[in-house]
């Protein structure tokens, strides 16, 4: 008996991983079904749908950049204090003092740009491939909300360095919200936690950026991917002659 066989025979291993090693259809299904993280994915995919030109992997790239953003964002949170005296200093410290801080910060920034970019391209791809049509119409709606949440994440993250660009970006943005009829003033007051862009606004944007919006995004992304499976997998270019 080899060590590997012994490990696979233990009751601990068998309680965690229930499928066998043989390359059978049953085992392949079990790998997907019995894993919380994989079960949103279809058990079987057509080989054609994995080809790059089928979907240009745009949704996948968006998802991958989201995972990069979560990982780098959590690491950045260990050094960042969302307070007026410290926010800008912490950002500079990450840039110049913390080991690999500048790498993580730039990775967070570039992944954020990439995520918005590929999310928009993904939306265009779905549109031109007519993949928004029934039965996928509900997933299109979820996708639109996901794009909105992505943009809100981008925007709330914009304030956190607390530099001139951030300050004026949020001044301008919240003044746009103020133009909403009737409740505009109140929306701005709620967003900023006051009348001016100050410590309350910084803290609110921080909580939105690090807790509220990521939780919403994860929830919606899970539904989005699960629905892809339920609606028969990804739809690539429509077949010739089909309307």
């Amino acid at each position: 008996m080899t060590t590997g066989e012994w490990i696979r025979g233990t009751s601990v291993y068998r309680s965690v991983i229930r499928h066998g090693l043989e390359d059978t259809n049953r085992n392949r299904s079990l790998i997907i079904f019995e894993n919380l993280f994989l079960h949103v994915h279809p058990v079987k995919v057509r080989e054609r749908s994995l080809r790059f030109t089928h979907t240009f992997w745009l949704g996948g790239i968006t998802l991958a950049s989201m995972l990069v953003l979560i990982a780098t964002g959590i690491l950045l949170m260990f050094y960042y204090h969302p307070s007026v005296p410290q926010a800008y200093r912490d950002m500079k410290e990450l840039q110049y003092v913390v080991d690999d801080g500048v790498f993580l910060r730039n990775l967070h920034r570039w992944a954020a740009h990439l995520m918005v970019f590929t999310a928009v391209l993904h939306m265009l791809r779905v549109f031109y491939h007519r993949a928004y049509r029934p039965p996928r119409q509900f997933n299109w709606v979820i996708g639109v909300v996901l794009l909105l949440v992505t943009l809100l994440l981008s925007y709330t993250g914009y304030l956190l360095p607390w530099d001139q660009l951030a300050f004026w970006g949020v001044s301008v943005g919240t003044n746009m919200a103020k133009q909403a009829p009737l409740i505009g003033e109140r929306i701005r007051f709620f967003l900023l936690g006051g009348n001016i862009v100050s410590e309350n606004a910084l803290l609110r944007f921080y909580v939105l950026h690090c807790v509220v919006l990521p939780v919403a995004l994860l929830l919606l992304v899970s539904i989005h991917i699960w629905r892809v499976r339920k609606d028969g997998g990804v739809q690539g270019p429509p077949e010739e002659g089909r309307q």
């Binding site: 001044s171 003044n175 709620f190 006051g194 100050s198 410590e199």
Partner: protein, 164 residues
């Protein structure tokens, strides 16, 4: 096999709400009231009661400092105090387009916004877009020592100059 009583929920008067219907509706209503209440309380919680923001009033010196054509920019208070031909008046320096802080251009006798290029004359009227509204006029009073006190929180009618 025991004889199961399957007629428990069936009553003779059809269409009349059963006791179960009543409790279900009462439960749903109670949950709805609780949800609405928590929603209102949460919104109220998110509304700050005390704001540690800078005061809206500031002292702008003696009225005698403002002869015709004098423009003083109070950076911290985001306001201009201007001497006109008939008296003193104060303008908000916050651009009415999107809230950037405007600057006074002494060589052109104009107020200009660095963000999107809006321009105003010295009475706050828009001379160049994209600003949608003129700069608001701010309230001026006099304190006991005879100095001007400007309140950036109070907007007054345009053209109402302060005469000491």
């Amino acid at each position: 096999m025991p004889d199961l009583d399957t007629t428990l929920d069936i009553e003779d008067d059809e269409g009349k709400p059963t006791r179960r219907d009543f409790f279900v509706q009462a439960g749903v209503a109670a949950c709805a009231v609780a949800a609405a209440g928590s929603g209102i309380v949460t919104l109220d919680y998110l509304k700050p009661k005390v704001l540690f923001e800078p005061p809206t009033t500031f002292v702008a010196g003696s009225p005698l400092d403002y002869s015709d054509g004098v423009v003083r920019f109070y950076k911290d208070n985001k306001a201009f105090v201007i001497g006109g031909p008939t008296g003193v008046y104060a303008l908000s320096a916050v651009c009415t387009h999107l809230g950037c802080i405007t600057r006074y251009k002494s060589d052109e006798k104009a107020i200009a916004c660095p963000c999107h290029g809006s321009r105003y004359d010295l009475e706050g009227n828009v001379t160049h877009g994209p600003a949608p509204r003129p700069l608001p006029w701010l309230d001026i009073t006099e304190d006991a020592a005879g100095n001007l006190v400007v309140d950036t929180g109070i907007v007054i009618a345009r053209g109402k100059v302060f005469r000491p």
